[in-house]
Amino acid sequence: MSTTAWEFLTIYRREMIRFVRFRTQLFTSLLQPALWMAFFGVAMSSNFNQFTSAIPVPAGVVPVDYLTFMAAGVIAMTTLFTSLFGGISLLFDKNWGLMREMLASPMPRTHIMMGVSLSGITKSFIQVGVIMVFGALLGVRFFSGFSAARLALAVLGIFAFVGVFSLGFLLFSSALSMRLESPEGLQGVITLLTLPIFFVSNALYPVQAFPPLLETLSLYNPLTHLVNGIRYFALGDDFFAVGAHYAYTTADVFVSFAYLAVFAAVMYLLARWTFQRAVVT
């Protein structure tokens, strides 16, 4: 009996059983992004469209309405929230003593964090799928005029961005959960982090109009890069929204993806270091 490379699937399986079994968690996690779209999205888009309708659209550039523009931001935000909270099950495992069963088993500890992260990515994928379908019903015009092949590529691209972004924050959340004592503490830290990450980004509005310091900060914000990726795949490489002209080159998108991949790699090392040193009795 020796360990294989696949034990993390054991952790993954259990996390998914829990996800499906806790009906409230399942339900709220699907409802929350839909509510953002339905209330915030619709309310803001009627305002923004009014403000920006006066700004002339440059010739040859596709104009994008606000609801469609911010739908990419809602996908990113939902992924951020879900991922930042994704490690919390480890904190409960730790506090309820369940972690000891895993730590005393021959399974390498990295599998615990990878199993939890993989389940978090799956949950994000489900949420992103729900937002895209629900968004389409509300009038979000993603993938307009795309061929079937381009549509498939675009969806894959969005999921790749969501996956790698999500992985980074899930590993961070897992490491944090291993260090903290209480769910309240984790909640506090996460709330503190989500505000700057969410608002110092291009999720809801263009960063071009930010003061220089905030604009610079936003460029180092992983969320900005996630949103770039989603918009590139959903709206195309050249469009006009909220009074700003967006043009992405393939290189821009590659840089954004690479930035998120490096972020995830750094978080992997941090989480691995935390897990290897963790003592839970």
């Binding site: 009996m1 020796s2 399986r13 259990r14 000891r100 005393a104 021959p106 009795t281």
Partner: protein
Amino acid sequence: MGEEDIIEVRDLEHAFNGFVAVRGISFNVRRGEIFSFLGPNGAGKSTTINILTTLLPLQAGTVRVAGHDVAREPGRVREAIGIVFQDDVLDRDLTVWETMEFHGRLYSIPRDERKKRIDEMLRVVELDAKRNERTKNLSGGMKRRLQIARGLLTRPEVLFLDEPTQGLDPQTRMRMWDYIRGVNAAGTTVFMTTHYMEEADMLSDRISIIDHGEIIVSGTPEELKNTLGEDVVYLETGDDRKAREALGGIGEIRSVTKSPRGLSITISTDGSRCLPQIVDAVHGAGIAIRSINLKKPTMDDVFVYYTGRELRDTGV
């Protein structure tokens, strides 16, 4: 250290932020026996079991379990042991079957073998009718049995049981004892911690009494009880301090210790022959006797004798 020793502990020491929980203990557990650590809460039992099961890092000393050093080859130790934790460490929302399945997968038991063993273990602990029940709906005894089944799923060489019957009612406790004996009879070495005297006495081949991080005495239950002499006399008087002085002249008395209800007197010969002398001496000193009681030594007496206090009074 002999080849039959499955656990070898030498000079084990462990401190938490300057508080020394375990002070240089050494002991061996022989293959095939039931070995108990008996002591009050906070004596160092859990710290020791956590080091032996690789949950706590080794600070000082050497520990070998199933032939492997816990510091150098923790992975090999983990493969060779099973653990039943002190509290009911079960995922409330998984079913009995899923709980076993999760554990089997953690240890990479191949699918067919896993299914076979889970069936077999659930039958052994009489939980096969509950296989689709979520663990939160099980009774205390069932939860503990499920944990035993889980601990045995990997066919460990040593099964660690941390306070296996804490919080169970007397009837369930006796059934647990039967299961533990059965597991041991099937060839698994059992290392157990407990603060129940009768549990250590009834189950163990050998016992180490541990208090304040030190092993105070080790031996078979019989040996330990015999070190106290043949019999113990419990005496309640009007003035225990004076009575103690009055007993000083009786040669057959090995020791007199204060117990919560009076004095407990260990006697090196037959107690019933010594009893009249005790009565005469105490009466002779003008002290009233409220009650007198003669008993063969129990593990409680052993504990009081070696630690100077009663285990039950240390709080649970």
